[in-house]
């Protein structure tokens, strides 16, 4: 196995193995943004 293949195996293994230890839970979503009312919705609100 030449040095290029060795480096390729090491680098791809580093990426693939990292996925086993990286966080699996999602992070809480930021608060919902209240969209500005426009058009008909604005008229109804008024």
């Amino acid at each position: 196995m030449d040095i290029t293949t060795v480096l390729a195996v090491i680098s791809s293994a580093a990426v693939f193995l990292a996925w086993f230890v990286l966080p699996s839970k999602g992070v809480a979503a930021p608060p919902a943004v209240e969209l500005p009312q426009a058009g008909l919705a604005q008229e109804i609100a008024a």
Binding site: D2, I3, T4, T5, L7, A8, S11, S12, A14, V15, A18, W19, L22, P23, G26, V27
Partner: protein
């Protein structure tokens, strides 16, 4: 001297190069969408316009004088003369210096698309604040005085870097380092956007970013595999390593962002794919598939780190052109000096890992020359343009957004 038999047009080669030219053309509007999604809503259309406009501008510049300066008869190993002005003498017969099996005009139009996308890459650095008129003049001067001579240095058989033995299959130095270094100079000369560092400047449409990156990936097959200038084994190899490096770049950048920010970033995956494509560009005709895995990985790590270092400096390279193209291109050019092997391309050379340390030194010279030429030249051009047209829009125009202030057209009606 080559005999007349070697100048016979091959229909397969011609079809592939013309199709590749069309693929590379698509990359420029794709870049427009990639950049357009990354900016704020009020600047989406003006950012897309930068790329679309350059497609038209450089298409005309190239057939008038650009191609002649880049590939015309040599002068001092530095630039081509104007003997081929207006494509005079650039006909439908092959040119043995560039491609012996396709019409000279097919080679010319393929190269045109490289000349088009290179200044378009720079636009990401000055997005959201450059005056359109200044951008137009800057682009014309930059293409003529920076890109065209640089292409001659590297790709003309008489260019000094070519004769030195520099390997750049599809534009690591000519396209990516030149645009990346010019981008950071633009960012420094123009200064930061209003509110930079004080307010969030989030991408307004991530779906557009991913669409743009996907089309760039697609078009890059023309960019790299088309650079074989023939439809055969070398084009196939370049195609495979291009796809592999892009994929590895995407996986690596996404993993880095997952590690650092606890979530796998979609924009990160898109940027990683582009970084992998940038880095494999100079190497694509010289390295094997395992080499492309390493290059894609390296691009993901190094370009990701470069973006974060740039953020600490507070330099407003708005869309990180320097980090991805300048650093990615430099890494790719140097990696070519490590991983190149004549088992892929007998016309190339071996790199350090295949017993030829000298190649790495030559690559270093090519990288340094490109950095200096692009950096100094861009600075001079910007200062020159600023004498006649202010580079930046007024504060009020910047606050309003460039879509309306420069073009009178908002991107979205809702």
């Amino acid at each position: 001297m080559e005999g007349p038999d070697t100048l016979k047009i091959d229909s397969g080669d011609t079809a592939w190069v013309l199709a590749s030219a069309a693929l590379v053309l698509l990359m420029t509007p794709a870049l427009g969408f990639f950049y357009g999604g990354l900016v704020r809503k009020k600047n989406a259309l003006s950012t897309i316009m930068h790329s679309f406009f350059i497609l038209a501008l450089i298409s005309v510049q190239w057939v008038l004088w650009g191609y002649s300066i880049a590939f015309g008869p040599d002068h001092f190993h530095l630039f081509g003369g104007l003997e081929w002005f207006g494509l005079n003498g650039v006909g439908l017969e092959p040119n043995k210096d560039y491609a012996a099996t396709i019409p000279h005009q097919a080679f010319m139009v393929f190269q045109m698309m490289f000349a088009v996308i290179t200044p378009a890459l720079i636009t990401g650095a000055f997005a959201e604040r450059k005056r359109f008129k200044a951008f137009v003049i800057f682009t014309l001067l930059w293409a003529t005085f920076i890109y065209d001579p640089l292409a001659h240095w590297v790709w003309s058989p008489n260019g000094w870097l070519h004769q030195l033995g520099a390997l750049d299959f599809a534009g690591g130095t000519v396209v990516h380092i030149s645009s990346g270094v010019s981008a950071i100079v633009c960012a420094l000369v123009l200064g930061r956007r209003l509110g930079f560092g004080e307010e969030k400047m989030e991408p307004h449409d991530t779906t557009m970013v991913v669409l743009g990156a996907s089309l760039l990936w697609f078009g890059w097959f023309g960019f790299n595999a088309g650079s074989a200038l023939s439809a055969g084994g070398l084009a196939t190899s370049a195609f495979v390593v291009t796809n592999t490096a892009s994929a590895m770049g995407a996986l690596t950048w996404m993993t880095m962002s997952w590690w650092r920010k606890k979530q796998p970033s979609v924009i990160g995956a898109a940027c990683g794919a582009v970084a992998g494509l940038v880095a494999i560009t100079p190497a694509s005709g010289y390295v094997n598939v395992m080499g492309s895995v390493v290059i894609g990985f390296g691009a993901g790590v190094i370009c990701y780190a470069a973006v974060h270092l740039r953020e600490r400096t507070k330099v407003d390279d708005a869309l990180d052109v320097f980090a991805v193209h300048g650093i990615g291109g430099t890494f790719g050019a140097l990696a070519t000096g490590l991983f190149a092997t004549v088992s892929i391309n007998a016309a190339g050379g071996n790199g350090l890992f295949y017993g030829n340390p000298k190649q790495l030194g030559i690559q270093l010279v090519a990288v340094a020359a490109t950095w200096v030429w692009a950096g100094v030249g861009t600075f001079v051009i910007l200062k020159l343009v600023n004498l006649f047209v202010p580079l930046r829009v007024d504060e009020a125009e910047e606050v309003q957004g460039l879509d309306v202030s420069q073009h009178g057209e908002p991107a979205y009606a809702i």
